[in-house]
Amino acid sequence: MVVEVRDLVIRYGDLVAVDGVSFSARAGAVTVILGPNGAGKTSTVEHLEGFRPAAAGRSRILGMDPVLDHRHLVRRVGIMLQEGGIQPAIRPREVLRQYAGFFDDPLDVDELLDSVGLAHRSTTTVRRLSGGERQRLSLALALVGRPEVVLLDEPTAGIDLEGRELIRSTLSDLRREGTGVLVTTHDLDEAERIADHVVVVDGGRVVAEGSLGELTGERSTTLWFRCHDPVDLEALGAALGAPARTVGSGTHVVDGPADPQQIARLGAWLAEQGLTATEIRAGGSRLEDVYRDLTGGGNDRSAS
C-alpha cells in the first residue's frame, strides 16, 4: 500500500473535520475519496500533503509520516491543490521549468506541456488561461518530478469536458505506469469513470469502501425501478412477497432476491395496474444509488 490512513482525526479548534477515517490506496490504481462538500476530503488530503497535523491516528505515505517526514516525501509525492498555487503573472513553461529545477530527474518540460494539451499556451500568462487550462497546468506541476504517489484535490472541478477527458487519460497512464493515484471528488460520474477503489466519506467518517463492483454489488439483492405515476407500495409488497419502499422521487426498491422470476412478477404487476416503469434494474445498481443511500444526499448529486 502506498497510502495508509488509520483512525485519522483532524480538528480545527472545536470543529472535527475528520473523525476517525481509515482507508488505503495501492500503487498502480486510482483511489477516489468521494463525498459531499464538508465531508473532510480536503482536510484528509492536506494532512497527507503534510499541511495539517493529525489530532489522532496514524498515516503513512510510502511508509513515512506525512508531516514528520515531509521533506523526504516532497521528492516522491506530486500534489495538486484544490485551487491556486500559481502566480497569475507567470507563464506555463516558466513555472514548469521552475519546478523541474527542484528535482534531480524531472520530466521534459515541453513533452509534459504537450501531454496536458498546453503546448500552444506555453507562453500565455496564467491569468489569461481558462479554468480548465489552469487545472491541467497544476496537474503537470504535480507530475514534473516523476512522483511515485500523486494526491489530487478535486482535479476535475469546474472544468470543461475536453479538460476532464485529458485528466482522465492522464490518470489512466499513471495507473499503467504503476503510480499510486489518490483523487478527491464530489462528482459521482467522475468517480464512476476513474476509480479502481472508492472511499465514500460523509461527515468526517468513511461510510463505505471498496471497488466499484463491491460497492454496487452489495446491493445486488435489491430490485430497483422508476415509475413516475403513484405506486401502491403495500399492494406491490403483498403481490411480490417482499417489502417495497420509495427511495427518491419516482424511484422504488423491492427488497429481497432480485431474480428473474421476481422481475417477471414486478413487470406483470405493473402491467396489471396500468403503470409504466421507465427503468427496472436488478442488482448492479449505479454508484449514484449507493451514494444516496449512504450519505442521505437526496437528489443533490454534485453538491457544490
Binding site: 500533503e49 499541511f51 516532497v74 509525492v77 491556486g84 498555487g85 502566480q87 503573472a89 527542484f102 518530478g145
Partner: protein, 241 residues
Amino acid sequence: MSAWASQLRTEVALASRQGEQLLVSLGIPLLVLVFFSLVDVVPVPTERAVDYVAPATLALAVMSTSMVSLGIGTGFERQYGVLKRLGASPLGTGRWVAAKTTLVVLTEVVQLAVLTGVAFALGWRPPMAGWLPALAGLALGTLAFAGIGLLIAGTLPGLVTLAVTNGLYLVLLLTGGMIVPVDELPGPMAAVSRVLPAAPLVEITTGSLTPDASVAPWAWITLTLWAAAAPLAAVRWFRWE
C-alpha cells in the same frame, strides 16, 4: 540547475516584469535624488543639497526594495497559494529564503550603482572611508526592513499588505529624514522617528558619506535592534497560507 537557482530565475523574471516594482525600487528614489538635488527647497545641513539627498536616497532605495517590493510580492504569493504549493515541493524554506535574499541583494546592487552614478553626475563626492560603515548600515537596514515587510506579508491578506506597506513607506519617507532632515521635524515627531528604523539608517548613510560629518551612536544601536527583532518577529509570526 540547483533548486535555489531555479527559484531565483523565476523571482528575477517576475520582478523584472512588474512595472510598479521598478517604479518603487528605481523610479521614486531617482526622482527624489534628482529633484531635491536640483531644486533647493529642503533645509539640508550640508552646503549643497546633493550631499545630503544622495546618501539619504540610498537609504530610501533599500527601504523600497526590502520592505515594499519584498513585502508586497510575498504577500500576494501567499494569497495566491504560491507559498503553500512551494511548501509541497523539494525547494524547502531555506532555499526559498536564500532566493528571496539574493533577489533583494541583486536589486539593491543595481539601485546603488544607478543612484551613485547619477549622484556623481550631480556633483556628489563622498569620502571613500565612509563607504564601509554606509554599506554596513545598508545591510542592517535591509535586514530590518525585510523583517518588517515579511512580518506584514505573512500575517495580513495581500491587498491589506499592499496598503499597509505603501502607507508605512510614505510615512517613513516623510518622517525618516529621507527628504527632510529629522532635525527639522517638530520635537515629538522627531523623537518618535528616531525610534523607527528609517531615521537611524539615514543618520548612518548621511553621517558616513558626507565630508566632516559623523554618525551618532544611537543610530547604530536602534538600527541593530530593528535588524535583529524584525526578522525574528517575521519568523515567529509568518503564516504560509
